[in-house]
């Protein structure tokens, strides 16, 4: 069964959010538009910074892999929708006692869960769960292996649209470790679906998947060429464990060629924005002067991420 058969109901509405691959522009835009309305829920002039939409719903954050930030933003989003949230770090739970993934889910379902937010090191974990849960339970993939991180891709699209307007005018560069990045895959799928005419990936050959051109992107192996005249630079995190492997010489060498410095950023358009999914390695993939500079919208991404996750959860819960 394809991901879309799992993700969409028979009449084309979103049932689970597992991947952005193959998701129609209609649904991506619905999520982005809904998120724009949720931004006002935390306006300073509101006494009550939440809405009653998911009152009485139980949302389980189940993280088989650590991620404080993603888990926290999902938790805040659920609470702003008035849902009840349960956080589970499964590393420290039954999995270490030998319980299978599906047994864990079956047990949590028996506790009357309405939605599972799942992060797992294995690609396709969300799909596996979605195939086995009862029809009223919704699954959100919060990152599976190298495969996909759809809510990060969506919040990146929200941020881009917020600062740079419609996608059909944009030239965007995704820079760094594309090979190991679930974020990059989600960004590429979303950008091409939303009509971005020029998506570039900029990376050393050793950090690019072999079939990357098939995704409809332009490939650059020199940073200076790759970010020239772009409207947005989407930096990727270089995972520490990769630096110890054979694909890269050293963190210092990586910074020299692939780190985003103020000098390199001058090659992009003067009003270009800089994004990063976090957590950042300052002095490795990004210079502090850029990360904290005028063109950085990295902290806005975090804020917008909450509204985007509110949109995803409320659309799913209503379908």
């Amino acid at each position: 069964m394809s991901a879309n058969n799992l993700q969409l109901t028979d009449d084309g509405r979103l049932r689970h959010l597992l991947t952005l691959d193959g998701l129609p522009a209609r649904i991506l835009n619905q999520i982005l538009d809904t998120a724009a309305s949720f931004i006002t829920v935390t306006d300073a002039d509101r006494d009550v910074k939440k809405v009653p939409l998911l009152r009485g719903k139980a949302i389980f954050n189940i993280f088989f892999e650590n991620s404080t930030r993603t888990r926290t933003t999902f938790e805040i989003a659920a609470k702003r929708l008035s849902a009840d949230v349960v956080n589970l770090n499964i590393n420290a739970s039954s999995q270490s006692k030998g319980e299978t993934l599906l047994d864990t889910i079956a047990n949590l379902s028996a506790m009357q869960a309405d939605m599972f937010i799942v992060r797992h090191a294995a690609a396709g974990a969300g799909h596996l769960i979605a195939r086995h849960v009862e029809p009223h339970i919704h699954i959100v993939n919060a990152g599976d292996g190298r495969c996909s991180h759809p809510t990060q891709g969506l919040l990146d699209m929200f941020t881009l649209r917020h600062y740079k307007g419609p996608f059909h005018n944009l030239r965007v560069a995704i820079v760094g470790d594309v090979l190991h990045s679930r974020v990059a895959r989600s960004q590429i799928h979303a950008l091409t679906t939303l009509g971005c005419p020029e998506v570039r990936v900029v990376a050393p050959k050793t950090l690019l998947p072999r079939d990357v051109e098939n995704l409809g992107v332009h490939v650059f192996h020199k940073m200076e060429e790759g970010i020239k005249d772009v409207d947005a630079v989407l930096m990727l995190r270089l995972q520490n464990e990769r630096m110890r492997g054979s694909r890269l010489p050293s963190a210092g060498e990586y910074y020299k060629h692939w780190g985003l410095t103020p000098e390199k950023l001058k090659l992009a358009r003067p009003d270009a924005i800089v994004m990063h999914p976090g957590p950042m390695n300052r002095g490795v993939e990004i210079d502090s002067a850029v990360a904290d500079g005028m063109q950085s919208v990295i902290l806005s991404q975090v804020t917008f991420g909450i509204a985007v996750r509110m949109a995803v959860m409320s659309i799913l819960a209503g379908n």
Partner: protein, 171 residues
């Protein structure tokens, strides 16, 4: 299925004039107009123009406060709510095009209270069509109609016709 409008139904502009006559003596410095998306906002703008005074205006979208979410899901087009004034101790004149079950007004009042505690909320509508399911009544009414449950009246707006009513029969 489109239907003929009831012959006794005045035009929206006439009804807005009638509302202005009722509302004008009640407008004080601590008042604010609040329109419910979308029809209520058109009425608010027309009222503000005729009242002439510099009254603060706000917009409510009740998509996140509806009571039918668990049945029909999230409304596909939500707009941000925007209240550019302090709701606390304000006298709010809530505006909508058609008053029917009262559920929209219930949702709008809950949303208003999430911004603060107003001194009062009054309700003005162009059309009260009957069929209430909640104990809610309007303070200012343009016209009362007695419609059957399958008859639906709505306010529409476009460049060629301006504000106008549309009647449909829906099962």
């Amino acid at each position: 299925m489109p239907m003929q409008l009831p012959p006794q139904l005045p035009s929206p502009e006439q009804l807005i004039d009638a509302l202005v006559a009722q509302i004008k003596p009640q407008i004080h410095s601590d008042c604010a107009l609040v329109g419910i998306h979308t029809g209520g906002v058109w009425i608010m703008d027309a009222l503000a123009e005729r009242l002439g005074a510099d009254i603060p205006r706000g917009v409510l979208d009740i998509a996140f406060y509806r009571d039918d979410f668990s049945r029909i899901g999230l409304h596909p087009e939500s707009k941000p709510s925007h209240l550019p004034f302090d709701v606390e101790d304000r006298r709010i004149l809530l505006l909508d095009d058609v008053l029917y079950t009262g559920r929209t007004i219930r949702a709008a009042m809950n949303l208003l209270f999430d911004y603060g505690r107003p001194a009062a909320i009054r309700l003005a509508v162009l059309v009260d069509r009957g069929g209430r399911e909640l104990p809610i009544q309007a303070d200012y009414v343009g016209v009362k109609l007695d419609l059957a449950a399958d008859e639906h009246i709505s306010l529409e707006n476009n460049e060629s016709e301006g504000l106008h009513f549309v009647m449909k029969r829906k099962p």
